[in-house]
Symmetry: C2
Subunit: 424 residues, 2 copies
Amino acid sequence: MSDRPRAVVVVTGSELVRGERTDRNGPFYAREALSLGLDPERIVIVGDDPGDLESALRSADGADVCLVSGGLGPTHDDRTVELVARVARAPLRVDPELESRIEAVSRAAAERLGRPYADFAPGVTKQATVPEGAVVVGIAGTAPGLVVAGERTVYVVMPGPPGELRRLWPAAVASDPLRQVLARATPPERRVLRFYGVSESAVARALADAGGDGAGVEVTICARDFEIHVDFVVEPGAGERADVLAASFVEPLRRYLFTEDQRTVAEIVLGECRARGLRLATAESCTGGLVAARLTDVPGSSDVFVGAVVAYANEVKVTQLGVPESLLAAHGAVSAEVAAAMADGVRRLLGVEVGIAVTGVAGPAGGMEAKPVGLVHFHVSTQEGGRGGELSLPGDREAIRARATVAALHLARRVLAQSRHEVV
Amino acid sequence: MSDRPRAVVVVTGSELVRGERTDRNGPFYAREALSLGLDPERIVIVGDDPGDLESALRSADGADVCLVSGGLGPTHDDRTVELVARVARAPLRVDPELESRIEAVSRAAAERLGRPYADFAPGVTKQATVPEGAVVVGIAGTAPGLVVAGERTVYVVMPGPPGELRRLWPAAVASDPLRQVLARATPPERRVLRFYGVSESAVARALADAGGDGAGVEVTICARDFEIHVDFVVEPGAGERADVLAASFVEPLRRYLFTEDQRTVAEIVLGECRARGLRLATAESCTGGLVAARLTDVPGSSDVFVGAVVAYANEVKVTQLGVPESLLAAHGAVSAEVAAAMADGVRRLLGVEVGIAVTGVAGPAGGMEAKPVGLVHFHVSTQEGGRGGELSLPGDREAIRARATVAALHLARRVLAQSRHEVV
């Protein structure tokens, strides 16, 4: 428990409470609340049953802020605004200015669809009916985003589509009722440490050995994307304690620490290449293009990343990457030798300085005693030579491919860091 | 509201309630509950504050089933079992058989880590302390999965790691207390319809025009991965009404319907090729390998999918795919002409019958007035000819790339379906 103002998130959507779609608004609201200095206490997901939604909203009564998404559509099933008004004890009324904005959108839609506006009119009035005193922070399609000040709780009511919610959120943060709550909140300082190649439990033990968190420093250890992400949330005044704890905690883990900021391993690899004028390509078998996809996910990657050859069939390894057939025959496609030949091959083929190769058995079929499902070979080839690696990865096909992708990028990161030091 | 037994999901984890990680257990539990004939009413996510967790568990009191995950670790912060015992009014006691199982795991871990077992002993006793009468359904690491029959509510308590929870879940479903609840539940019939190329609102309108859902047929319309997925949940006895509704609903949308089962578009494309002995390759620019990754995500894709060339730099388009430099100069890399040359080029280069090509402006930089961010050209080349397509996609880099990937696969699906009919 902290003395930060408390926030409860209420998300509504039948497909969400049935698990047919994974909610993205709850995590977004929670992260935003935390960064503003609020304490996200609970995320509640309910369907469109009005009783369920009302009781979720009532359970937030007494929190400083209730962050709501979904249920703002034009039909009678969408009852979020009506129920927020009831819980906040604010009478509903039609907002004429809002009504004319929604009407304009609806008239345009009616024309586009070739339908009479009369079909839309009841929905327009419904969506323009808001709690008295509500601040309209924008509209998404025909759905308004609202901030409603209840007796104890400020309700932020946003449309369900995640992109629309994110777009309207800054205006909600800037609204008077929410600003009054935020005036009582001090955003905590955040620190980030990211490790690779060490287990979550070893990181937890290092934290405990360093004295553990508490006293204004809250530490979350989280395995994500096969890396260990450690977040420090530091209350005002606890900066010095956080420094001491972080230093002593990091000490035994230093060789696994790869960044102290939010950069991904793909960004680090691209940045390292860019700084040294190196260009990069990948040769992929079991990852099927995922390493290339991860690299090109980074905006501006095109000055470093040139391309990739996905050599799924062995003939592509031979004809495109120049892997000798004799090598494939002698060692098999999943071998250190073939990984090295793929990395060298793509470097030569595309005329780049750095080649990253992955070959493995993603399963579920294709495993053998000598080469079981999960066996993956990696190789990173540079002008100064190469370095290989081998992992036996647990999990299903998706997990093996995802983890092999991350492992390939981390091998490239280490090779680049090392060759930088050697050159210096 | 239905008369199905009600299920409430309670998920605990500080990183989840802070939005640092997206919960996967809530949606899993909800989907499973629904398919077993339960009514998933609410998903609540709380941190490790015991007050918050207890009140979340109390809010489930009265539901038939409460599905819980997380907070089962060996330390004092992990209080789920203790709080479930309190809410279920079951006294805690050490289960000697469970204790010896956990001890064996911990002794092995102590040895592996070179630490004294005494460090682990308190955790072992803590994790073997369970509500009286609890059914132990398995252990994950040292954490037991439990089923606890309260006075009105059956609690299923599972470890937080999603893979472990999924592994132990079947044993929980088979446990006596849960079977007694499930005996009162009739699993609904599910029907799936998937559309591409039509808006969510047009699908919603078609449903309303067909009479809408209700009377034992619940319909969810959900835009997912740029497709529109429509799920029918049909209560026992409402099968005929579902047939009539589905037939009249699908009628105006038939040209957009691409499957009535759970197959993904990648599976459909691979299946169509496989049935006709065709092999497949991709040539990708802005998607950077995502189309290949999506295809190779399907187990067994290697008999159809041969490989890919990610031609991110123009020189790779020229040297590998044989796109004429004059074509690039005349039309630019993002053009119908270059997409066609890429598709033909990869087909020739890798010696396959079907080539899929994508080239576009993913942004955020690189847009121009004539070729703005979001413009993407597609081409599918087959032995019988080719077909191109062009889209202006909204959203950020990630959304544009994801949507272009799906669009490329759907173009291939349509080309393959059409050429099949032409051959017949």
